[in-house]
């Protein structure tokens, strides 16, 4: 089965609109235990996603229904006919308000430049071999995933693009040990390339964190002390702001933010400015158009804590009557009013490792178990572990501060440290 065969069938199908995407993913995978190869893998996966749209009417009005399916390259022509026929019926069962598909012709967005899987893999493997390890701290294990993803999209309005892009995942675990006691720390990240020096430094910093965890004391009971975040968990914080500007969240009544109205009644700290950008160096999400064929334009979603533009799929953007919208992949959060040094004054708890730090994009609840923190109190620094931090972004957004300096975690360029006030810290010390 081929892209053209499906497209030809869609062209004559009695639907009101369609979208067809062919995705081919080729991947190299290497799994290491203590620098010894556990397993190597190759993947080559092709699939087709078809969306069929059909209009219906009843006494309450007109609707546009969408039904989707994944078609496999091993499907027979009869299989394809059956799926498309089923989708055509299923679309009539779905009664959503009418919207339209993207219809602006795309130019110069067909780019085929396959990633060199072998060379990308080589960079990751060589980088791991260059990490400075000692008898007391080393890499336990790591997994390298290097992919080249090729997409060919077309819709019934003639919008078409072909593109491919690299997508890498690097997961690693480090150990530190002392006097028969061993601890570990876990990290995973997405990358558009392998910047060897930066990644090597990140691993070595993590090794140092692990060594510090060996001598950590139980987190004491703490009240009214700000929390400083300085690692990739900050992305969870800023993703809350991004998702609240998602048109789908607005339509689904999850986001109650409104354009040109501050997100808080009274700000006491820094106000978030969040810009969506098409291109961010080294991101694995650098696309000219989104998955539905809409041009991605640089634009502010939030400026000084005031919503400027919701974003999202064509469907939800139409519902909110947003012009020139698209999905958003890369974001930049503008730096705050103070420097890192200024924010690290006075008493605070810097948490660099959680079991799993979560910020509910819907309700804003913050939760995470503390695996490693640095308690700065009364002029002394104590390394702590255990206990948890909890709170809610609705309160935190009013007072939070963030640094002038910025750092980048794949598709999020954000302040290098974020300081939260009013969160609850549950200590474990007696």
């Amino acid at each position: 089965m081929t892209f053209d065969l499906i497209k030809n069938k869609l062209d004559v199908l009695d639907c009101d609109a369609f979208e067809l995407t062919e995705t081919v993913t080729r991947g190299y995978e290497f799994y290491f235990i203590r620098h010894n190869l556990d397993q190597n893998r190759y993947t080559e996966i092709k699939s087709y996603t078809v969306n069929i749209y059909k209009k219906t009417k009843d006494d309450n009005g007109e609707y546009l229904g969408k039904a989707s399916a994944e078609l496999y390259p091993t499907y027979s022509e009869e299989d394809v006919d059956k799926v498309l026929s089923d989708l055509l019926f299923q679309a009539t069962l779905i009664k959503n308000p009418v919207f339209s598909l993207n219809d602006k012709p795309l130019e110069e967005v067909s780019r085929i430049n396959p990633s060199d899987l072998k060379e990308l893999s080589r960079a990751f493997i060589e980088m791991t071999n260059e990490v400075t390890e000692t008898e007391n701290k080393d890499m336990n294990s790591y997994e390298i995933f290097v992919k080249d993803i090729e997409k060919h999209f077309i819709n019934s309005n003639g919008v078409e693009y072909i593109r491919n892009y690299p997508a890498c995942v690097f997961e690693y675990v480090v150990n530190a040990r002392k006097d028969g006691h061993e601890v570990e720390l876990y990290r995973i990240g997405d990358y558009g390339s392998c910047k060897k020096a930066e990644l090597k430094k990140e691993i070595e910093d993590t090794l140092q964190f692990a060594e510090d965890r060996l001598v950590a004391l139980p987190t004491p009971k703490l009240t009214d002390i700000p929390v400083v975040l300085s690692t990739d968990v900050q992305v969870e914080i800023y993703n809350y702001f991004k998702e609240h500007m998602n048109a789908q969240y607005k339509v689904m009544n999850i986001s109650d933010w409104e354009l040109n109205k501050p997100i808080c009644d009274a700000f006491e700290g820094d106000r978030v400015t969040l810009e969506a950008v098409k291109y961010l160096p080294d991101s694995s999400y650098n696309f000219d158009v989104d998955t539905e064929g809409a041009f991605i334009n640089d634009r502010f979603l939030l400026k000084d804590g005031v919503p400027q533009a919701f974003y999202g799929s064509k469907q939800f953007s139409d519902y909110l009557e947003i012009e020139n919208s698209s999905n958003v992949y890369n974001v930049i959060v503008t730096g705050g009013s103070k420097s890192e040094d200024e924010l690290k004054q006075g008493d605070y708890l810097e948490i660099v490792e959680f079991s799993d730090f979560q910020v509910s994009a819907i309700g804003g609840d913050i939760a995470g178990e503390i695996r490693l923190g640095y308690l700065h109190k009364d002029g002394k620094t104590t390394i702590v572990t255990g206990g948890s931090v909890s709170g809610n972004m609705v309160d935190a957004a009013k007072k939070m501060e963030f640094s002038k300096e910025q750092t980048q975690y794949n598709n999020f360029k954000i302040p290098s440290i974020t300081k939260l006030y009013g969160t609850t810290i549950t200590g474990v010390a007696e």
Binding site: E70, P73, E126, E184, G368, I425, T426
Partner: protein
Amino acid sequence: MKATFSTYLDSLIPSLKDLLAELSKSFDYVSILSTDSPGFRVSISNNQKAVAGKNMTTERGTVIRVYKDKLYSEVALSEIDVNNVKGEAERIKSILDNQFDLLKETSSKVYETEILKDEPLTLFKEKETEELPEAADLEALTEKFDILCKEGMKTIPGALNVIVTGISTHISKVFLSKNRDLRQSYVYTEGSIAAYARNEAGETKIYHEGVSGCGGPEIFEGLSDVVKKAGKVVSDLLSSEHITPGEYEIITSPEVTGLIAHEAFGHGVEMDMFVKERALGAQYINKRVGSDLVTMHEGALTDESVTAYVFDDEGVLAGDTIEIEKGILKTGICDSLSALRLNTNPTGNGKRESFSHKVYTRMTNTTFDSGKDTLEDMIASVKKGYLLEGMQSGMEDPKHWGIQCIISRGHEIIDGALTGKVVSPVVMTGYVPDLLGNISMASKDREVFGNGACGKGHKEWVKVADGGPYLKTIARLG
């Protein structure tokens, strides 16, 4: 009726056997897993509806595992040219040679592993279901979900949206090696009600509960009961307060009990973590890790849930492993390659996210055994504490036996009675042996829940189920 085995796989198997024979000329061990699993996902909310012929477990493809020079390698392909099996074998060898070259160029050493035993076995199993996802009446289903959604919007206080979701997949898999020909087909289904509601203070609360099991879309019938009790739960959430952090007596509902089973000792005894020396459990075999009331099972045979397969993704028959017996840690669970490295037997827990993903040791059904107490007696025994209900998420920490569970709500208990006060959300943390060691009561009843998905670290999502009885213990809440 039977969940009939895929006709596509039936037609593919002869070519797969030819490919296996061809690759066996160049490798010391070859196995092939091929899947064909159609299904659907229907989602109906107050203002958005969707139907799709795909969900997280639908797939079709083949993964080939080969072994040579003490190293296992895999190639996962969505299509194999059945008319040119020799050519496909050459292509697979060429792809792997390219990787072997890179490994040589980077001076990478191999974690040497022995060859799998490949003991002879033939099996064909089609499990029972009342209905197949492929034959589901989606028109009736969308209408039913629409009614449930409207009922939820009407009865749930402060409802911003109610989302009714149904997922059903008909899984067919064949595992082939030189001495094995295993084929299975079964259906699993899960449905859920999610509600978002906001109180006057502007706090948004989330409710999520569902039904699931090894069976077809008939399982969605249970959603009617779920939506009926959503109103009371959301009302509690909207009027909830923040908990005062501290250590409390707690009673865990079966759902929270399941979360503890999963996070505390489920991940902690996945023996691929033993290979990496990432799990403290390896040092505690035959040692006490819980009170006498703690007996924990793990295995696809333990419950007819969403993960009740007949054989795992490495062609090992499903099991029912007793991990903890009366507080003593007996054994872990193990995939085939980890078993070779640890000189033990695999337990039927080698699972892949999909055919294109690597096998890891993964959980299936993880459950605590029941006890002899009643919930009423358990509440009456609490001086000051909480009855915890509704799971949101959890995180494992096998190396240090920490536990993190985010729980929807806690009902305050003072002097043996529920006060009516509710706290939400609740972050439960602690040291696993303390948590299990303090279990002092367990109820007679037991429930298993299969609406969640489990990751290994932060990836490799697979279906799992867990549960148990009400348990009374002590934990730190914040």
